[in-house]
Amino acid sequence: MTRSTSTRSTSTRSTSTEDPRIGWVYVAPAVAIVLLIALFPLAWTLWESLHQHDLRMPWLGRPFVGLANYAEILRDARFWGALGHTAFFAITSIALELVLGLFLALALNETFRGRGLVRAAVLVPWAIPTVVAALLWRFMFDSQAGIANAMLVRIGVLDQPIVWFIRAATAWVPVILADVWKTTPFVALLLLAGLQNIDRTLYEAAATDGAGPWWQLRHITLPLLAPAMLVVLIFRTLDAFRVFDLIYVLTGGGPGTSTEPISIYAFNAMLQNLEFGYGAALSVVIFLVTFTLAVLYIKGLGADVGGRR
């Protein structure tokens, strides 16, 4: 969308004689795929959510129940719990990722020697399967003789080894750490791209006027980095609200359901309990939450961030 104005003016020069339908022919297969296997199922989910559909009890059929599933969601303590866990996970991990990502981006922006190497090194956690990341962290925190316990006892944070996965408060620790570990590099790379867009002469002018690095950070870097940080914030919020793999493998939502996010609750409702109607209603709620956030992104930022360049 950034360069659409420039391409429009140039490309119309020679396309004026050609069949305008050709563009549609070229995008048709892609659009057909999006409609058939993404939008059509989405509409189906919506329709399904208005029915009682329990695959374990096929003799009940699939009666239309209107908004009954949604009414049940509002009364469902497990749903509110799951929503709370998702929000907690999102806020905690994103806050840490933004702060650490900013440090990492600033450091990457300063150094020249070995930057490629470092960039590659931090990209690897981002690129590996989330399942693998979850298992690596599960292993480090598993068992009272695991490395996490050993290190924390050695440096005096813990008096004695603890069992991390039997209480919600401690089970969240490896979950949040694993997410921060896996995602901070991505955050840093987006912020680094933002940093590199900042006009160097601003710093030179400030330095000439005697402004120190702290002043430069607060009055030049952070304000000009705000759009990039906002993009990161929205991207990460969308991701965090659909978190599934990480928690599924690390805690399974446990102990009990005390770390269960909404996507795992919806998954269990559908594919474990085979309550497709209720599960569909849960997925619609997840969709609405993320959709609202996405609209915020496109409306509030799309034009602004794109237009700057």
């Binding site: 969308m1 391409t7 490309s11 020679s14 050609e18 305008p20 050709i22 549609w24 070229y26 995008v27 297969p29 892609a30 659009v31 795929i33 999006v34 296997i37 993404a38 989910t45 990492l104 450091a107 990457l108 300063e110 490629g116 470092v118 960039r119 590659a120 090194a121 931090v122 990209l123 690897v124 690129a127 590996i128 399967p129 989330t130 399942v131 693998v132 690596l136 480090m140 068992s143 050993a150 570990w181 991505f186 790379l189 791209a193 710093y203 659909r242 793999d245 996507s263 919806a266 998954f267 559908m270 497709f276 569909a280 997925s283 997840i286 993320t290 996405a294 496109i298 961030v305 794109g306």
Partner: protein, 275 residues
Amino acid sequence: MTSTGWHRWIAGAVLAVLVGLTAFPFYWGIVASLTPEAALFREPSLWPTHIILDHYRALFDERDFWIPIRNSIVVAGTTTLLCLAVGSLAAYALARLEFRGKTGILSLILAVTMFPQISIVSPLYLLLRALRLIDTYPGLILPYLTFAMPLAVWLLVGFFRQLPFDLEEAALVDGASRWQSFTRVILPVSVPALATTAILTFIYCWNEFLFALSFTLGPERQTVPVAIALFRGQYQVPWGQILAAAVVATVPVAAMVLLAQRRIVQGLTAGAVKG
């Protein structure tokens, strides 16, 4: 900021610490995958004392780990090829042709990259069941297109827009059709962009978990992430083998990232920051 000496020192120190913290879980996983099971939780030592390859051997001899690897390669590979074929054509039109509804299509595709997979799991399950595609390769490839195709289109639109207009002009003035211009002018100069897109698409498919978990039934069609996540031992968690499998699953993506890191970063940040 002016790059004075102490700046660089602080930056270097911060980087060293962060890179160390980043690398440690990998290091620890690799060490553990080479350690006898009995010694895994006995007095953890930072250096491997007794290296064995038993876990890797067991992974392939006893657990047939090559089956999930084969499944992942087939599913991720096919999805990537389909995405490149369909996606590059669509991206060409969206980046370089003028037609009504173009902006709408771009927004639609961007919107699809953002919507949560869980919201279409149940209808896709019912649909695939009706088509008897549960636990088959097409039963994974079709759902994978939902997230991989918009991603490929989005990345390629970004790349194609950067190509200068003059590139095509000569061919078009000489009477070449749009199709000829696309296949003979645009595609040949876009090989690096296509490769980057292929790598990113492949990585996303290789790592995917929710669809693979939902639409497969047993080991015969499970992909690598599902196979690892569902690893069970008879009496206890077989950590040695799990970590060996984790290392095996990581090697291809790590290799791709290290080979193409500059381009990957460009592709990712172009999509996100430039809007």
